[in-house]
């Protein structure tokens, strides 16, 4: 693992965002719109707060946290697509760069992007709705880290699929994260899901994060079990997705697909 190579890739993406208005918009525009729409829905529904305590925290908190997962996913998959779109992939992989360094650099890029987005979203939520995400407390940090880990594993999986199936699989860079949304119990508890989806949601780290977040709001107790479950499943998924990526990388080199996708 060489720091200069990670730095080179980080620079490549920072240069890109520095002057591209559409890309900067992408970082702020959708989160901003989400926050507006969901924020006003939340304000409206909060009139019924007697039946659902902590309603605003539930919804706005969940929205900001879900966006963290989504940005972590996109930070990897869309950055990878940028290299395909610019036909630069072969220049990178003909250099001493290792696939693991490439993925690590994209993780770093995604971390920077989501830090910026989350800060802006948290600020806007406070400005428009007087909502302070940090009301959840310091226990928020391990949950956020879990969402980032899950976003990364989806991003790495997507990257492996695009490598293998080419640009036809591009749509996954946006769509795959949303596939996990219904079973993540972002805006509702797992208990409202039908039994089959409840069973599936147990294997989705984000469902433990959002259940944990609700437990903190409702009872103030720290849900250690949920956190450990999320962490355990996340490590397993990161292991599976990176193995999948490396195996795929080997296969695409064997089949000559890396060259085809890179030209």
């Amino acid at each position: 693992m060489k720091l200069n190579r990670l730095m080179a890739l980080f620079l490549r993406h920072m240069y890109l965002y520095r002057r591209s208005i559409p890309r900067i918009m992408e970082v702020f525009y959708w989160p901003f719109l989400d926050l507006l729409v969901w924020g006003f829905i939340t304000v409206y529904l909060s009139q019924f707060r007697q039946t659902l305590p902590g309603f605003i925290t539930y919804f706005l908190g969940a929205l900001i946290l879900w966006d963290i997962l989504f940005r972590a996913h996109q930070g990897i998959s869309v950055s990878f697509l940028e290299d395909i779109w610019s036909r630069n992939l072969l220049n990178l992989f003909a250099s001493p760069l290792k696939p693991s360094e490439y993925i690590l650099a994209l993780m770093f890029v995604s971390l920077v992007k989501l830090l910026i987005t989350s800060t802006v979203m948290a600020f806007l939520a406070w400005l428009f709705y007087s909502f302070n995400i940090f009301i959840i407390g310091v226990s928020l940090i391990p949950f956020v880290l879990n969402l980032i880990l899950m976003g990364w594993s989806i991003g790495i999986l997507t990257t492996g699929l695009v490598l293998r199936f080419g640009q036809e699989a591009e749509v996954l860079a946006w769509a795959l994260g949303f596939l996990f949304m219904p079973v993540s119990a972002v805006f509702y508890p797992v208990s409202v899901l039908p039994p089959l989806l409840q069973s599936i949601s147990r294997f989705v780290p984000s469902s433990h994060v959002f259940e944990g977040m609700r437990a903190i709001i409702n009872s103030g107790r720290f849900p250690l079990t949920e956190l450990l479950l999320a962490l355990g499943i996340n490590f397993l998924y990161i292991l599976i997705s990176t193995t999948f990526f490396h195996l795929n990388f080997r296969v695409v080199k064997k089949k000559g697909l890396l060259v085809r996708i890179g030209e």
Binding site: L11, L16, E82, R87, N91, S95, V259
Partner: protein, 234 residues
């Protein structure tokens, strides 16, 4: 090395050596296996059979170490088009851990006469300027071996001539080895110290340009190429 893509044999038992300071021309009609060979040498495609040794080291096990001392340029590969010329070179200089990065960037910019466009975005460059940027990138790490896949394809005759002369002088000064492909037969004759003639993934002739022309009883490389492409001489 041999390379199969499913049942298609793209490269069949091709074996050759390259020497320091040599320009080796890879020649052949479309589909002869030239680009596949370059991709295998760069570690971008894995050979089905065979071993590739560069600087005496096995590419499969020591790719990272080897890749630091080689580089490539291809007409079919570009630089990130939302970045400036200088930013692109800066990224690759960092990637290859080039010492005195700024000096080296200035040097390659001057070499290919693209100093005046260093702050231009890649997407605003002409195809000739993009080719020169690719070539500048390929020399950023002072490589010992350079793989050039049709490097002058989109250059006007003046710049193409300057580029050829420049490559020859860099080769002389740095004892650089160059593996070169082009569909310009005159260029191949002029540039190559030695030629490998490929047809349907196999070597059908090898030697100095004059020896290859002689072995097909042709008057020049163009005529030999046409004979092979039309399968009159094979």
């Amino acid at each position: 090395m041999t390379k199969f893509f499913k049942s298609l044999r793209a490269v069949n038992c091709v074996s050759f050596e390259m020497y320091p300071g040599e320009i080796l021309g890879l020649l052949g009609p479309n589909g002869a296996g030239k680009t596949t060979i370059i991709h295998m040498l760069l570690g971008l495609t894995t050979p089905t059979q065979g071993t590739i040794k560069i600087f005496g080291k096995d590419l499969r096990h020591r790719r990272e170490e080897i890749a630091e001392k080689i580089n490539f340029s291809s007409t079919y590969v570009s630089m990130p088009n939302s970045l400036t010329v200088k930013e692109c070179l800066s990224i690759f200089a960092t990637l290859y851990r080039v010492k005195k990065k700024e000096d080296r960037i200035r040097e390659v910019l001057r070499c290919f006469e693209i100093e005046s466009i260093k702050n231009k975005l890649v997407r605003h460059l002409s195809s000739g300027q993009q080719t020169r940027l690719n070539l500048a990138k390929s020399l950023i790490n002072n490589p010992k071996i350079l793989f050039l896949d049709e490097p002058t394809a989109s250059l006007d005759p003046d710049i193409a001539d300057k580029t050829r002369n420049l490559l020859k002088s860099i080769k002389r000064e740095n004892n650089l080895s160059i593996l070169y492909t082009s569909h310009n037969m005159k260029e191949m004759e002029e540039m190559s110290d030695r030629l490998i003639f490929l047809h349907k993934g196999e070597i059908i002739a090898t030697g100095k340009p004059k020896e290859v022309i002689g072995s097909f009883r042709g008057k020049d490389l163009e005529e030999v190429f046409l004979k092979v492409a039309r399968e009159e001489a094979v």
